[in-house]
Amino acid sequence: MRLRLECLAVCLLPLIGGHAFAQSNVSPGEILQSLTGASGAAQAVAIDVNAIRSDIEQRIKVEGTENAASPPPVLQALATLPNLTLVIEFDLDSDRIKPRSYKTVGYIADALHHPLLLSYKFVVVGHGDASGSREHNLDLSQRRAAAVVEALTTTFRVEPGQLVALGLGEEQLSDPSDPTGAVNRRVQLLNLGPR
């Protein structure tokens, strides 16, 4: 029960505007625990990354939707999934993962190879801060999420069917009161349930 409460705190805090516990020093055990969820019997969640992307592209064209207090409806469904927020550092305005973050990506791979997570599907979500245009940030975060997925499925031999990449740009800031803050630049892993 204690595990469950801790997991929920990690899952929900970013949504109510608190700071996400983005971690750059995580242990494989912590990753496993966060992504397994308490119930262990999550239902499969269908996710259409292309639909989410076009939904956000439409939303960007509408005035007054910047830094909206509530996430787009399509994202709210994802908010309750077992998840983990991590810091993976990239070169400035680039999808090149900095070598000092290889270890974090490696630990994600170790967790995904574990029998407890082997049969689950995950989405790697890239989030950016609000410097620059929303379109640019959406594109950059999509490329960064894809870069993490590529590293995981090639160098670290995770099965490609276990992962999808999704960039959310600046559409889901971790700290809307500090839109350009580093706390917003993060990678989230969400457990989509059995694959």
């Binding site: 494989p28 270890k103 990506v105 490696g106 190879h113 574990h114 407890l116 049969s119 160098t155």
Partner: protein
């Protein structure tokens, strides 16, 4: 030539206790920690625009092998070997543990992940064979 360097570098690394030959295998995260500690400066110096994945960093290091620090070459080769040991261990667990799985996990539905989850359950650790337990440890699933 490169293979030979790799072999001796690995042997040296293991002999020096970098990764003990009898200890647990190491996984991707710990490997990357060791690798970047030893090769981080080389990666930034010689592969500054190379992106991780699809063998690009390995190819870049290989192209610049004459310019890498000795510590980087040694660690890199040891890490490659350790990762192969773990990947091989993960691969062979289902076979090594087949009899244990039939005996202990008969109520489990088919599926590799389900059977593995049964075998690594704490209450089964004392019941599975030593060979199976060792394979699970080498696979990094403790």
């Amino acid at each position: 030539m490169w293979r030979k360097v790799r072999f001796w570098a690995s042997a040296l690394f293991i002999a020096c206790g970098g990764v003990s030959a009898t200890a647990q295998t190491i996984g991707y995260g710990d490997s990357m920690g060791l690798l970047i500690e030893a090769c981080g400066a080389d990666v930034e110096a010689h592969c500054a625009s190379v992106r991780l994945g699809s063998g690009r960093i390995e190819a870049c290091l290989q192209q610049n092998v004459d310019r890498l620090s000795q510590n980087c070459v040694t660690t890199w080769n040891a890490v490659v070997q350790q990762l192969q040991v773990r990947a091989a261990a993960q691969e062979v667990v289902p076979k090594i543990c087949e009899a244990d799985a039939k005996r202990l996990c008969s109520d489990f539905r088919e599926g590799r992940a389900r059977i593995l989850r049964c075998l690594i359950r704490e209450d089964n650790t004392r019941k599975v064979s030593n060979a199976c337990n060792k394979a699970i440890t080498d696979a990094g699933w403790r």
